[in-house]
Symmetry: C2
Subunit: 244 residues, 2 copies
DNA sequence: AAGTGGTCTAGACCACCTA
DNA sequence: AGGTGGTCTAGACCACTTA
């Protein structure tokens, strides 16, 4: 077995791990085809059935997709917005394709107690803080604070974020880490002053309700790696979550 | 094969269907053990591997759970609140166990265009409308409008709802239908007058932001069967969604 | 010790896509 | 026609639970 260096893990889990690593190393790009089940079985020293089980789970994890008769392919990087989408007030129908992301800045701060606990860090651990503004047809609709453990991503560079497809794409390309959403929490609040000004909500109509979203994301191994807080204006758009 | 009456479906899907039906008919109660994989394979005329695949998917669907060395068991009915929970302002830690449901009434109305489309009904199709109030430590925190296709659930009786574990439990017990959440949509709004009064938000402080939640649920076959609209007060509690 | 679910294999056949 | 994923089988061994 070529994969037996890892111990006490089922063979299919080792196959998953090897494939995840080879994907992170950039062996294939999005929509590239993987070798067939039989070829992988030969390469990795497992049976075709075991490789199938690993591939099935990687599809469930969102890393791959399959097409009957054609092959198994690398799934594209998910957008920062995650599995969720912004939609118009109509019920679920329309696409959020006009959504644009604007990078506002990168700074450092120390973790509050709550956030340190959520990210499983010690108190006051150093964090990166990325601020993003989302626009829909040019109008600001949401503002993000993205907090990342600075020791894990110590070489993070603002230039990467300014020019990339997004924070999640940068983490995947520069650090080989793929995020999945663990938990989201929703509140309705009156929009605070600072966020109101960044979202272009001006003086007299300052009493605007906002959807306040907290989101914890983790790597595929379950390690929490991103804390994100978002204020959304929902006059024109609603925030939707699809299940399964 | 005892299950081959259905055609052109993979054998494991037929096994799933048979087991779902037997569960809906009340052959087992929550936490009862199913027969072993080998016994089911014998009963149903499939191999143990095929039965395993069916059981694995039913576990993924949330209908069953398994324990190594002990057996396969029927999962309990999910609460109306669904996979989601109400939590205190602390980040994700606490349990929503003090949540109580109060049945306010059952009435009939005709579907609006939006809702008819979401439920895949014709315009003005008759609907049941169930109103529910949620309390947390006695204080009202959320108000539900539940819309159900009246022709599908024509014998629905208010007495069932008043005395049961909830709408979803009633539908499962009386109609053999199990719901799963398809899609949820979130907005922040100022609380409308009628809802404010039902939630006990009194006169002068009437300008309260509320979390407005729309939810579409479907049977396990994908047929949309429930439309639910909820206003949540999020001063004390936030609404959370867990993924995977 | 017996029974259960969990993993793994080898081989077969089918449905679908591409060339 | 040949390659791919999708289904199905039969048999083996392991890890865990229960009595």
């Amino acid at each position: 077995m070529t994969v037996n260096a890892l111990k006490r893990q089922p063979l299919y889990a080792q196959v998953k791990q090897v494939l995840r690593q080879r994907m992170a190393e950039g062996e294939w790009r999005a929509h590239d085809a993987l070798p067939s089940e039989w070829d992988l079985a030969g390469e990795l020293g497992a049976s075709q059935g075991t490789v199938r089980k690993a591939l099935t789970e990687l599809v469930a994890d969102g890393l791959l997709y399959r097409e009957q008769g054609r092959g198994t392919f690398v799934a594209p990087v998910p957008s920062d917005w995650g599995e969720s989408s912004l939609l118009t007030p109509g019920l679920f129908q329309e696409q959020p394709d006009e959504l644009a992301r604007e990078f506002l800045g990168l700074s450092r701060l120390n973790a509050s107690e709550d956030i340190a606990a959520a990210l499983k860090l010690r108190r006051l651990a150093p964090l990166w803080r990325v601020r993003l503004l989302w626009r829909w047809h040019a109008a600001p609709v949401a503002l993000d604070d993205v907090l990342l453990p600075a020791e894990t991503f110590d070489t993070l560079d603002a230039r990467w974020l300014r020019s990339s497809e997004g924070v999640h794409a940068t983490l995947q390309q520069r650090f080989g880490v793929r995020l999945k959403v663990v938990c989201e929490q929703f509140r309705a609040e009156m929009l605070p002053r600072e966020e109101a000004s960044l979202l272009g909500v001006t003086g007299m109509v300052a009493d605007v309700p906002a959807l306040c979203l907290l989101r914890l994301s983790a790597g595929m191994d379950g390690q929490p790696l991103e804390w994100r807080q978002r204020y959304c204006l929902t006059h024109q758009l609603a925030y939707t979550v699809k299940h399964d």
